[in-house]
């Protein structure tokens, strides 16, 4: 087999997610009453970018065979915080942005410290810390409100060169600046190794704990980027439990749709981004085809199940039943 075949099979999940997303988006755009216009794309992109960021955050942890059920709450907390501090003069707002991102980083570091040094289960830990983060969000914004620096908000939610949604450019920047180097860094490699086989990773002298800790930290950081972005879109902060919960669950759905293995060790954040965009497009498809919104969760659930089934097609070809358990 030549090199490109190996590379192709390595990125199969990501490419599949991309293909499905393009297919769905094409159906959506061609049936949209306004057609494939810059406006339609911009609106879809802004909504999609939110989930894409949270899904990307989730990917970091899932790759290490963990799970972060606090991503949605970090997302909500940083939204509330941003609605207080990303305001005023450009310099003040800039400092505010730094403050929001540091808060996300800190949330992730707390998760990581408890999971790794406290040796607790990721599921329980992040449910608990998520509740704490939500409590803080509620204290910050008992009722929805606040504001955001409008220049900054317009810059991130508008269009670049008149056609390209700025949110997608920002998303691409996050991928280029954070994900791609991470994937090729020693700590990123270590994260894949830990997720694939923690024992083998330890025996090979891989920095197991550092890799896991860093994954949680990155998860918190990227989730806070999502929270910041939500503030740009809504120009307010809201401590919504429903939002936090659904973003957490959707992030897991997006990760699966994007070809990331929940067992850890394989997949890519880029796949998770396409998974998120796909998941959003499903909702929009319902809208253009005039379905009752009541059906939306059900339909999304069915698509998710279908995607998971697609991922297990290989099971039907298996001739040795023991392989099922590998």
């Amino acid at each position: 087999m030549s090199d490109w075949r190996y590379r192709l099979s390595e990125h199969r999940g990501t490419l599949l997610a991309l293909a499905f997303f393009i297919l769905m988006f094409a159906i959506y755009a061609s049936n949209h009453p306004a057609g494939f216009t810059a406006n339609v794309v911009q609106t879809a992109a802004n909504k999609g970018a939110l989930l894409a960021l949270v899904a990307m955050a989730q990917t970091f942890v899932v790759l290490t065979a963990g799970i972060d059920l606090s991503v949605g709450m970090v997302f909500v907390l940083t939204n509330c915080l941003a609605s207080w501090i990303v305001v005023g003069s450009p310099a003040m707002a800039g400092l505010g942005v730094v403050g929001v991102l540091l808060t996300g980083l800190l949330c992730g570091a707390i998760n990581g410290a408890i999971v790794i040094y406290g040796r607790l289960q990721p599921i329980v830990t992040t449910i608990a810390t998520g509740a704490v983060y939500f409590g803080i969000a509620l204290a910050l914004r008992p009722v929805p409100g606040g504001d955001v620096n409008s220049d900054l908000a317009d810059a991130f939610t508008g269009r670049v060169l008149g056609v390209i949604p700025a949110s997608l450019v920002a998303l691409a920047a996050v991928v280029v600046v954070i994900w791609l180097p991470y994937r090729r860094s020693v700590i990123g490699r270590a994260a894949y190794a830990v997720g694939s086989s923690e024992l083998a990773a330890y025996m090979s002298g891989v920095p197991v704990q550092a890799a896991k800790f860093f994954a949680y930290v990155m998860s918190g950081l990227i989730a806070s980027m999502g929270g910041l972005f939500l503030t740009f879109i809504t120009a307010s902060g809201e401590a919504s439990a429903a939002n936090g919960g659904s973003y957490t669950l959707f992030s897991i759905a997006a990760v699966v749709l994007g070809g990331v293995s929940l067992f850890g060790g394989s997949g890519s954040a880029i796949g998770a981004i396409f998974g998120a965009l796909m998941f959003r497009t499903i909702g929009d498809l319902m809208f253009v085809f005039d379905f009752d919104p009541l059906w939306q969760p059900l339909f999304q659930g069915v698509v998710l199940l279908a995607a998971v089934c697609l991922g297990s097609v290989r099971l039907f070809q298996i001739r040795n039943r023991l392989d099922l358990f590998e």
């Binding site: 087999m1 090199d3 190996y6 590379r7 390595e10 180097p181 090729r184 860094s185 020693v186 490699r189 894949y192 190794a193 997720g195 694939s196 086989s197 024992l199 083998a200 990773a201 330890y202 025996m203 090979s204 002298g205 891989v206 293995s261 060790g265 394989s266 298996i318 001739r319 040795n320 039943r321 023991l322």
Partner: protein, 518 residues
């Protein structure tokens, strides 16, 4: 005595205790550069702990280690690697989702601008694979797509890429094919010439005879003897290992069953994929039929096919002369067929390591000791005690996790678990791999006892001595087909090896032809 040069590595008075169990007790070891040093001992003799201490996986309770005469302490495997001590573990240390190249430079990848340099990494991988004699492997293949024997070659390449000064091989050849073993041996001899110190742990005496310069025998956590290779006979060595006289390892064989007795298990024209080709065999009650040949010639697949694990098997399986539909392991286990398969990998296919000895023992037989879904605890307990006694399983009670038993005793639990279902047909997949001599002998006795009580036994082994000592008949497989059937006195090492390699030796051509046409 020559003037003592400083040895490359020395261990003095090292002890390691796990709870109250002494795994190593004031052990001494001297390893010299340019030598292959074999470590022998039964399971539980302290070999694994010795390696773990040397390679930084566990820290010793007392004693010291010297590298080039300077004291060293390793807090983690990475520290030992740094110092030049690299171990190829029996339990593979490869990461399944990463590629061969990623795995080879996992602990210290080449970097450019702070990021992993994939091109350099690829070059390192190609060089290391070439050094290990596995240049046929593509560096970009994910490790999970490789068969076990190839993974072992990657493991060796990975160790070599770290430029070790002391290389430890723990049963490194147990998963390899004969061709790979030859390659690895050539590599090891070259490394010795280059001045590395090699520590070679193996249960295979002929490998040690071929490779080792120096041997040290461990028993009960202590080094009991050290000698130059060739100074002691195999029997002397085995006596040192087991601490008592070596005799009667194999039980006497009863006379062959009359050939007109109908077989209890009969297989006609079994084929599967391209791995099993038109296999026919019959096993009578009271017979032990061996499967021989090189590793990986379809023996494992044949057992899995009989036990209903494989899909798409063609051909017929008859039990007591009636066609049996063995569609799954639970169908095979059911009373009217009464089949049991003692698996090869006890850790994943045979036991639930964290669960208790008792739970593991009764798991396969639950349907026999329960009525309407409720387990009869008294009956369960009684059967468990019977089995522990029958197999002389050494355990501190039935409630301790089975993972805390020694390897040999774990394997006895696997066997006992299947005996509890009272099988009439027993399939064994290399059941003595990695087990100490004493336990092996007990297993051989047990096989004969079971056969004598009317069981039909199919026994796959990679160890020729076992096939010669235990079996009434041996089917030698080659490339998925039966190449030759050896009966009674025909089962000799020479016959086994020549037919395994699919070569005919002078004087044997005729009967091989007759076996083929039969």
């Amino acid at each position: 005595m020559e003037p003592a040069a400083i040895p490359l590595f020395r261990m003095e008075g090292v002890s390691k205790r796990y709870g109250g169990v002494k795994a190593l007790e004031k052990a001494d070891l001297t390893v010299e550069a340019g030598k292959i040093h074999a470590i022998l001992g039964e399971n539980g003799a302290g070999k694994s702990t010795l390696i773990k201490v040397m390679s930084g996986v566990v820290e010793p309770n007392e004693g010291r280690m010297l590298l080039d005469g300077r004291e060293v302490k390793f807090a983690a495997p990475a520290a030992a690697n740094q110092a030049g001590i690299v171990c190829i573990f029996q339990e593979l240390s490869l990461i399944p989702d990463l590629s061969v190249a990623d795995n080879i430079s996992i602990s210290n990848p080449p970097k450019r601008f702070g990021l992993i340099d994939r091109r350099a990494q690829r070059r390192i991988a190609e060089e290391a694979l070439a050094k290990a004699g596995a240049e046929d492997l593509h560096p970009l293949t994910p490790v999970k797509d490789l068969p076990l024997s190839r993974r072992q070659m990657v493991e060796i390449a990975k160790a070599l890429a770290r430029n070790p000064r002391v290389l430890i091989l723990d049963e490194a050849t147990s998963a390899l094919t004969a061709a790979d073993v030859a390659k690895v041996f050539a590599v090891l001899k070259r490394l010795r010439a280059e001045g590395l110190a090699l520590l070679y742990i193996s249960h295979r005496m002929h490998e040690i005879a071929e490779l080792a310069d120096q041997c040290t025998v461990f028993r009960n956590g202590r080094n009991v003897a050290s000698y130059r290779a060739g100074e002691k006979s195999d029997n002397e060595v085995v006596e040192l290992m087991i601490g008592r006289e070596y005799s009667h390892v194999f039980p006497a064989k009863p006379p062959l069953a009359p050939s007109d007795r109908p077989p209890m298990l009969e297989v006609r024209n079994l084929s599967w994929s391209d791995r099993l080709k038109d296999i026919s065999l019959g096993v009578r009650a009271g017979e032990v039929v061996g499967l021989g040949g090189l590793d990986g010639q379809g023996q494992r697949e044949l057992l899995l096919a009989l036990f209903g694990v494989l899909r798409g098997v063609s051909g017929e399986i008859l039990v007591d002369g009636a066609p049996a539909s063995v569609s799954s392991p639970s169908a095979a286990k059911a009373r009217k067929i009464g089949m049991a398969l003692i698996p090869e990998d006890r850790k994943t296919e045979g036991l639930m390591l964290p669960m208790s000895v008792g739970v593991n023992l009764s798991f396969a037989a639950l349907d026999r000791i329960s009525s309407r879904g409720v387990i009869d605890r008294a009956r369960e307990r009684q059967l468990i005690d019977e089995m522990i006694e029958l197999l002389a399983i050494r355990t501190d009670g039935v409630d301790i996790p089975v993972g805390s038993l020694s390897g040999g005793n774990q394997q006895k639990v696997v066997i006992a678990k299947w005996l509890m279902v009272k099988p009439r047909i027993i399939l064994l997949n290399d059941p003595t791999r990695g087990i100490d001599v004493g336990t092996k002998a007990e297993i051989y006795q047990l096989l004969r006892k079971l056969a004598a009580t009317g069981a039909a036994i199919v026994f796959y082994s990679t160890d020729y001595d076992e096939l010669i000592g235990c079996c009434d008949r041996v089917l030698v497989l080659y490339d998925g087909a039966v190449k030759r059937v050896l009966v009674g006195d025909e089962i000799t090492e020479r016959a086994l090896i020549s037919s395994a390699l699919n070569i005919s030796t002078p004087g044997e051509g005729a009967d091989m032809a007759s076996a083929m046409s039969a």
